[in-house]
Symmetry: C2
């Protein structure tokens, strides 16, 4: 058996709690209580709390990056670099995110928490782990995104990627809390889909916008 019953229960409980509260805020006692297992089970099966997080990280990042890789191959985007326009590239990204979310309805938030942890918090370990493991897999996609963006220098593109990531991560992180306040939980999956789609024309316009040199001298 590749994965014991207890380990599976821990992963499920941790996924839900991490997605809802974040990694640091979630304690091992919460996880094990929710999972109905002993406190020591996490250390026994995953070595440490960090080990549990990394285990979950692979679980979500792998299908995500593979989905993007596969999509690019299917659509021959790697041969013809102009076959996919900006809107289509972004929609592909959104589809990849939703694909991750199909495994469980917490997956997307878990995924977001991971990036949040890797980029917002000073968690250099996890950050390097993610980049080293999935950076090369995602590079072709980034390259395509670059080609469909407005003409700009490397550092300008670098920062625009941050703007895009910020929008996605921030919005999805917030969605959880906002949905509780608005109590419009009738159809979470469809609602997330709608928000992600709202981003496409906005981010597309942003990436294609001409960088205005006027501002650099004005302030």
């Amino acid at each position: 058996m590749a994965q014991s019953k207890t380990a599976k229960q821990i992963l499920d409980a941790a996924e839900a709690l991490f997605a809802e509260q974040g990694f640091i805020e979630t304690t091992m006692r919460q996880i094990t209580k929710e999972a109905g297992v002993n406190l020591a089970a996490i250390n026994y099966h995953f070595g440490s709390k960090q080990g549990l997080i990394q285990s979950l990280a692979e679980h979500f990042l792998k299908p995500f990056s593979e989905y993007i890789e596969q999509s690019l191959i299917e659509r021959d985007a790697l041969l013809d670099s102009s076959s996919l326009k900006m809107d289509e590239l972004l929609e592909l990204l959104m589809r990849a995110l939703l694909h991750v979310n199909q495994e469980s309805n917490h997956a997307l938030l878990m995924f977001t928490r991971l990036l949040e942890l890797a980029y917002l918090k000073s968690q250099e370990d996890l950050r390097l782990f993610i980049i080293g493991r999935y950076g090369s897999k995602l590079k072709p996609y980034i390259d395509l995104l670059r080609k469909q963006s407005a003409l700009m220098e490397d550092d300008e593109f670098f920062w625009r990627l941050h703007f895009v990531m910020g929008s996605v991560i921030f919005t999805l992180s917030n969605y959880n809390m906002l949905s509780q306040i608005e109590k419009s939980k009738f159809d979470t999956q469809a609602e997330i889909e709608r928000i992600l789609h709202r981003m496409i024309p906005v981010l597309s316009a942003g990436m294609q916008a001409r960088g205005d040199k006027l501002y650099f001298s004005r302030l």
Copy 2:
């Protein structure tokens, strides 16, 4: 007794540490050690750690919102709602952020941590405190932003504001860490200024982008 020497030292140390590490990650022992005061001083002068955070919150949010209020008055934007175009509104926002940063070079990051805490973490107390205290002051600015955006429904605008906030918060949160890695700390203030200005055309295009009818039948 407007502010004792000890309280001032605590505020300075807390500002630097909070900006660098975040609120939860920074302990009272770190702050008091850095400030060269006794551990109990925080509770004596601010009641609690949360009291210290709220005190700092006011210290930064007040000049920020007042700067925006004042700028709108000076430029007669409240009388003529079309006097300021989208780019100018966003530049005004960036100027307000930089204005806050003039008091100290940690101010902008502190400011960002505050919004991060209020929006990303489930800190309902601070969230309501901020909205209740500064929401009404910033409403005129939001209204102007709305008027200069593409025609859209309320919820669409609501989410686009999130996209913008996400870009700003995420990018500024990241800047601190990235600048350490790139060790290009030659001129922090100018570098932040450059990044903020990079956002203007991107965010401007995003807010003015037409919502794609393919995804929404309502608009």
